[in-house]
């Protein structure tokens, strides 16, 4: 059944924030939601959570609309810090967990487990405003998943974190998925989605540009990357038939080609010219696909 978003449109006055979004997010999987600012990711999440009502269309989890009767099945991590700055970690997590239907004792036990796991057990009696952004994000993540939700929505969970913390949080999220939680997360960072998600959707100005399985998206994209290093001049490749994009590196070039056949003829042309140090046919990266589809460079 999973999470179904059926032809959902959301309009704010004349502005269309989400346009005809149609997605099925499979259960017990991680689903990546990509898109620039204003692409409609947060609006979609808010509709999934029932905070906003879609102008058209329907959203359902396990065949049922998400409302306050089943809200304890859902976990949510908002894009920006969403904690009481003045409250102690213990008070706030217990409060939020109780609102998601947990009792006080279980909430405390879980909190201690997660703080230990994130190697910050001493934070339990600290106020949130005293913690660094990375540590606040850990607390935030604990708040969103402490009640073991069936569906976890993470809006930009890894933004503003150092690589060590990203790894710790990523591991926790992956463990949660392996434990059977369906996770939807949005990110600006293509590599996180590429690494963790089987299915994904790229949004642009409210509409889904690409949606589906990561492997299929890559395959159907058709274009491949060729990475070349050689001892001779490679400039003739810039105008080679079938090459759509050229990027110069220190010792060679990375070319985008329309298909494997182009690479095949290319290597035959290269070998007689001299020593080829490297010739590699690569799958396109998600970044390539994103840039191509959204049509803008995005960092």
């Amino acid at each position: 059944m999973a999470l179904q978003i059926k032809e959902v449109t959301k309009k704010f006055g004349d502005f269309t924030a989400v346009n005809q979004l149609d997605l099925t997010i499979p259960e017990k999987e991680m689903f990546g939601f990509l898109g620039g600012n204003g692409a409609g990711k947060t609006t979609t999440f808010r509709m999934v959570l029932g905070l906003l009502d879609p102008t058209e269309g329907e959203i359902s989890w396990e065949g049922k609309k998400i409302d306050y009767t089943n809200s304890s099945l859902i976990g949510y991590l908002p894009e920006e810090r969403g904690l009481y700055p003045k409250l102690k970690v213990r008070d706030q997590i217990v409060y939020l967990a109780r609102l998601r239907g947990m009792n006080k004792r279980d909430a405390l036990k879980e909190l201690e487990y997660w703080l230990d796991r994130f190697m910050v057990p001493e934070y339990i009696d600290k106020r949130v405003e005293e913690l660094s952004k990375g540590n606040q994000q850990k607390i935030q993540l604990i708040a969103s998943m402490i009640h073991k939700p069936e569906l976890l929505i993470l809006d930009e969970p890894f933004s503003g974190l150092d690589p060590v913390n990203v790894e710790i949080l990523k591991k926790a999220v992956i463990d949660l998925r392996d434990g059977g939680t369906t996770i939807v997360f949005s990110s600006h960072r293509m590599e996180h989605v590429e690494e963790m998600c089987e299915h994904l959707c790229i949004m642009h100005k409210g509409s889904p540009v690409v949606a589906g399985k990561l492997k299929e998206i890559k395959r159907s994209f058709g274009k491949k990357n060729v990475s070349i290093k050689a001892d001779f001049d490679l400039s003739f490749l810039d105008t080679y038939p079938g090459v759509t994009k050229v990027k110069n590196t220190m010792e060679g070039k990375i070319l985008q080609v329309t298909g494997e056949d182009v690479a095949e003829t290319m290597i035959r042309d290269l070998v007689p010219k001299g020593f080829v140090r490297k010739f590699e046919l690569e799958e396109p990266s998600l970044t390539d696909i994103f840039i191509e589809k959204v049509g803008a460079v995005y960092e």
């Binding site: 906003l52 306050y68 810090r81």
Partner: protein, 416 residues
Amino acid sequence: MNKFWIVLSHTYLSKLKTKSFIISTIIMMALILVLTNISKLIDTFDSDDQEKVAVIDQTENRLFAPYKSAVAGVNEDLSVLSAKDEKEAEEMVSAEEIVGYLLIENDDSVGFKGTYKANQISDSMVSNDLLLALTQLKSQITTKELKLTEQQIAQLNTPPAFETIALQKNAKTEEDLNQARGLVYVLLFVIYFGVLMYATMIAMEVATEKTSRVMEILISSVPPVTQMFAKIIGVALLSLTQMILFFGVGYFSIKQNLTGMNEGFFSFFGFGNINISTIIYAIIFALLGYLLYATLAACLGSVVSKIEDVQQMISPMTMLVVIAFMIAMFGLGNPSASYITITSFIPFFTPMIMFLRVGMLDVPFWEIAISIAVLILTIVLLGIIGAKIYRGGVLMYGSSKSLKSIMNALQLSKKH
């Protein structure tokens, strides 16, 4: 319902534990202790303040002795001593042994006259007492000279009987009215501060949750209406806790000084015989007023995006409370004025002005019932609209211009 209690108890307990709440409560209690013990405190500071005045008797010394006893009868903290002439007296003034001196001379037309000279004549207490003693002395001497009997003297000194009686049956007597005025005055202040302080607390609380984005988590697990009313009632309980503490301290302290309450300073406030029905009405109107303004404050707090904007956003609400308070203050002198009667039925003014009328006049019960019904209806209406604004407002970020953002918030919460 369960979540309602979680939010309610969280609001109550987390506020109760904050330092600012504890400190402000302690300061207020200390202030109440000081106020209720004020007559004692004034006494302690004044007791060692024996003031001395020199008297230069230029009437062959026949007046000094009786005058001294007359002064002692008027004010026991004031004592007189004899001085030979003005020069000696002036030296004593500059040596700060005395505050001033009184010159008593013979006067052909009225017998004798007095002149009081001091460095500072701003302290009229001393000169008044001196004059009073001198007047008493003069009437003593005059009556003696006229050879009047004790009876005649008594007759001369008795003022005519004077009474004010209200023609309306249940109308309060002048004395009652004065006492009621004091009590109503104090309770109006309590309602005014209570409504303003706790409603602002609600607005701040909502705005804090919104700006810290914790609201998005809250609102995804608790319906906004439940949340809003749980918060309002949580703060109401908090205010009751505080009020009980304040009144407890006040009552205990007043009881300790009960003898002092019926005289002097306190008789003005009518604490001698506190009217129970006035207190009950005060509680009812304070609670209803709080509910009305707290609902309004929650809506207003929900549409701001920055915590700094809260004050600006709730300023129209603050103005309403202040206007109600001002009308009530003007009405204290003349509670039966027609503008008081009319405004007492306007829901935003009812809590203070209807209370003023109930406390000061004998208002027919149906009038009170109507005003309370209108007030409750307004609260319910505001609650329904407020919940919609709240639902939309908490998801809305950007500039907060009062009216426009309220309309936007309503738009956002609309079901399509």
